[in-house]
Symmetry: C2
Subunit: 187 residues, 2 copies
Amino acid sequence: MSRWEPDARGRLAQAAMELYRERGYEQTTVAQIAERAGVTERTFFRHFADKREVLFDGGQALQEHMVAAVEAAPPSESPLDLLAAALDAAAGQFAEMPPEFPRRRQEVVAAHPALQERELIKLARLSAALREALRHRGVAEPAAGLTAETGVAVFRVAFERWAAGEAGPDLAVVLRDSLAELRALSR
Amino acid sequence: MSRWEPDARGRLAQAAMELYRERGYEQTTVAQIAERAGVTERTFFRHFADKREVLFDGGQALQEHMVAAVEAAPPSESPLDLLAAALDAAAGQFAEMPPEFPRRRQEVVAAHPALQERELIKLARLSAALREALRHRGVAEPAAGLTAETGVAVFRVAFERWAAGEAGPDLAVVLRDSLAELRALSR
């Protein structure tokens, strides 16, 4: 795994997260983020619609990778095995990210109700996309809905623990452990 | 079980739901809701803060009943048994409601992104309250978080199916079946 070498987009994301922590999210401007990253404002807007979207960058890619993993899994897989494949794909998205990045991001989101709402909407969309992918794989209702909602539940709990540094450095392992814990609870 | 005999609050809720369907949510005014229910606007505002809150009335009571059920369950219960008790308590909240009420409500909420956001926030709060109640009952993390999130997932999927008339008339049975289905999936 190569070291995370930020390009302009990565530098902008890092600069934004630093400034959100130092000055607060509300007080930080796009001009300040661009300056800290050593690029122009125009470059910022080539990568992000606004300062909020820096925090939600990657959400669409995350969803696409999880859906693709469900679609690509072997035909014999059970609904929860399809979910496990999706969670593995999710972990891949964060594999090269510096660990302090998601923790700071979670802190900023947790401190602003409007950002929490945005987060909830993104997760609801992720659940709907996973449900649709599971249906395409022949999973009937209510199993498809339950598996998708459960998948997002596992992702939320595991990601929160991983970002807080409470559960080891490897998100893939934390996700697998959380799904195993849920299976154990259900026995 | 007695027939649902609406008082002023119940009549206002029914009138609101009829008008939201007939004229659309945006176009309906509090004055129209009060007139249809045969009460004054002042009476409306004694029961609801605004026309949006008619749709979310009972959310706080639902949360309190589910938390109380977790607190009151026998000491030996497993996390998923505590969850089952909470889901039974949730069903009790809807036992005397006319079945078309939740279906119409779901339709109105589904048609308005701002109402969907409000719904997601309420469900996130419910999850946080259940998680706290489970911790108080000695459930460790991540089991408490996983069980609470899973509980809300089961509630969402079951409530949606029940409100759409896809899963029989008794919400308690639909909730229990959904939890059983999740357990079966996890095997």
